[in-house]
Symmetry: C2
Subunit: 350 residues, 2 copies
DNA sequence: CCGGCTTGCCGGAACGTTCCGGCAAGGCTT
DNA sequence: AAGCCTTGCCGGAACGTTCCGGCAAGCCGG
């Protein structure tokens, strides 16, 4: 295996000063005149170490540039120090997922954990269980073949939104109240005078989409104002929303509000409206189920539900850490808040 | 440390059957009636093992559900089996980066490598060098405080686009010919009749943006057609592009083509044009430096340069792997291709 | 001044793997 | 038939950590 030695040599080349051998606990111990156990204890704050010794050891370690070897640490402590993150392969709401991922990374970092990106295609190359201590599975779709494998990989899993398929193991979940947020959206356009609202949403292959559909139905029943619905793809583009809106308005010209679910697609609703001679915010109210650059940057700006994705990511990591540490049961469900951002597209102020 | 035992217990609970202790090489060896060395060799395909023994061992390992412990493997072989991925914290071109990340993950998986997402904020919690074998630093910006730390973390680094700041170590790079692609874009609008093109681009804090500026200048000089330039933010929204375009057209009504750099912002150019009574594709050509959902889904669809981000991610990983394996020198620079996608916004066909 | 308790430190044994050296057994050449 | 090489397998030593048991030394009450 000449490759391997090559790889190692290459790595060595890059390791700072040429003569730099990786400095271990033992090196620090010798330099500080104590045993490796003491060094370990001093650095970890574990065991019983005299304050003077502790400071001395830490000083020596810093001077030598000691860097703990995470592989050894992981082996010994039976923890990988990493969590997996799975995002929908059909990753629409890109803005959203990206922010969520960064939020998760930030929070994980605070816990000293790495976040490894799991391949959307599934097909894990190795034993997932020995590579991560736990996993985040965000917006698991029933159609996603990778999800079941992830769920019984043998490590605790926290899902962002519930998984609608059969969950083999007890898992934690962080859920958004999608019913409440869509209700708020519909109430809002209703307050602004809309009487025939419509919903553009993906098929109910995710908990999010499913909640949207039932909520629309319930709201329609409660208000005796049936909500027209049109199915778009999970990763709908603005163009797709545009076409859907055109179809919707052609079928029922009385529609006076369009709520668009997929992130980034809502501007298409604006375009369709304008093309048909409507004025968004006046004779056609437009809103989006998920806030993002597209809704904030359009003109008029589009009313949307802000799920604060970065926070969402943080909360997911937090729950996973709590489960890992045994601070809470594995079936814990936590809620994540949202806010309604009302803007010109439903207020008519331009 | 009661937490830790809690964590372990929790992990055990999830490990399939209740009595399931993690099965090691030794367990397989005993079950197969051979030594652990033989098991290791049989499974890895290393050393000398009789085919019959090899098959037998593999069969036993599979039956017992043996899963190699990656921490042990990493410790022993001095490789972490993971690469880091750093994306610009000001992550515009989200669509782009997301696709790139997924491409990288897919390719890394083929090599048996994990991809760990590096915190944009820097502030690594541990020794980077012992957590990853190498790193991908995508579109490093000079303003990003995290980048220098990453570059001399002691592991090989491949950058996506060059780093303009002082690079402490020799690193590999995968670069796009931004000069050529912008030239192609300008040539294209020139061919379509534009004589006063303008460029909306971020300040030159990244190699990409810097290339855009110098290319615009060169092209203008070569064609005796100065390119009007307007600076927008790296993470420009459609609204920002809209305002910039309005300002640009107000200052110089003769402008007949606008090339917008940041991903997702180009639709704003369309809006500004329409608002000013222009017809995109006819009396104002519009193009984007980076293709994505926004350019494809707008109407009219926007001509753009497609960098095939998923491929880009793959190529970066490939180069990093080659460097790690010593198959190529550390200073290797590879080029990544692009294609010009001409669409209605410059063709006038609608 | 002695038994017990606390404090501070240390050795050594894991953790599960890879890999090197070695050693029989058997086949080949001479 | 004696030497040698190859094949197939094995034992053991790392890799760098954490953590448990233990052991001196100091301090106390009695």
């Amino acid at each position: 295996m000449p490759e391997r030695s090559g790889a190692i040599r290459c790595q060595r080349i890059h390791c700072g000063p040429v003569n730099a051998r990786t400095v271990t606990l033992l090196d620090v111990a010798q330099a500080a005149g104590v045993s490796k156990s003491t060094v370990s204890d001093a650095l970890q704050g574990s065991g019983r170490v005299a304050p003077a010794t502790r400071d001395h050891v830490r000083e020596v370690a810093a001077r030598l540039g000691y860097r703990p070897n995470s592989a050894a640490r992981r082996l010994r402590s039976a923890r990988t120090g990493a969590i997996g993150l799975h995002l929908p392969q059909t990753a629409t709401r890109l803005d959203y997922y990206m922010k969520l991922a960064f939020g998760a990374v930030a929070r994980a970092q605070e816990e000293g954990l790495d976040v490894v990106l799991l391949a959307p295609a599934g097909g894990t190359h190795g034993p997932l269980a020995s590579r991560v201590d736990g996993m985040l599975v965000i917006d698991p779709e029933t159609g996603d073949a990778a999800v079941p494998a992830l769920l019984d990989a043998g490590v605790p899993v926290v899902t962002g939104e519930r998984y609608l398929g059969p969950a083999p193991d007890p898992v934690g979940a962080v859920v958004c109240d999608n019913a409440a947020s869509l209700t708020a959206l519909l109430d809002h356009v209703h307050d602004r005078g809309a009487r025939r609202p419509a919903l553009l949403a993906p098929a109910d292959t995710s908990a999010w989409a499913a909640a949207l559909h039932t909520t629309a139905e319930n709201w329609g029943r409660d208000h005796a104002l049936p909500v027209a619905r049109h199915t778009v793809s999970f990763a709908a583009t603005a163009r797709e929303a545009e076409e859907a809106t055109a179809a919707l308005l052609a079928a029922d010209p009385d529609i006076d509000a369009v709520v668009c679910a997929p992130d980034g697609a809502a501007p298409g609703v604006l375009r369709a409206a304008t093309a048909l001679g409507r004025t968004p915010g006046r004779d056609l109210l437009v809103a989006s189920c998920v806030d993002g650059a597209a809704t904030r940057g359009s003109s008029p700006a589009i009313t949307a539900v802000d799920f604060r994705p970065a926070d969402y990511g943080r909360v997911c990591v937090e729950l996973l850490c709590d489960i890992l540490a045994g601070r809470t049961g594995p079936e814990t469900v936590r809620r994540h808040g949202w806010t309604l951002e009302t803007r010109a597209s439903t207020l008519g102020t331009d």
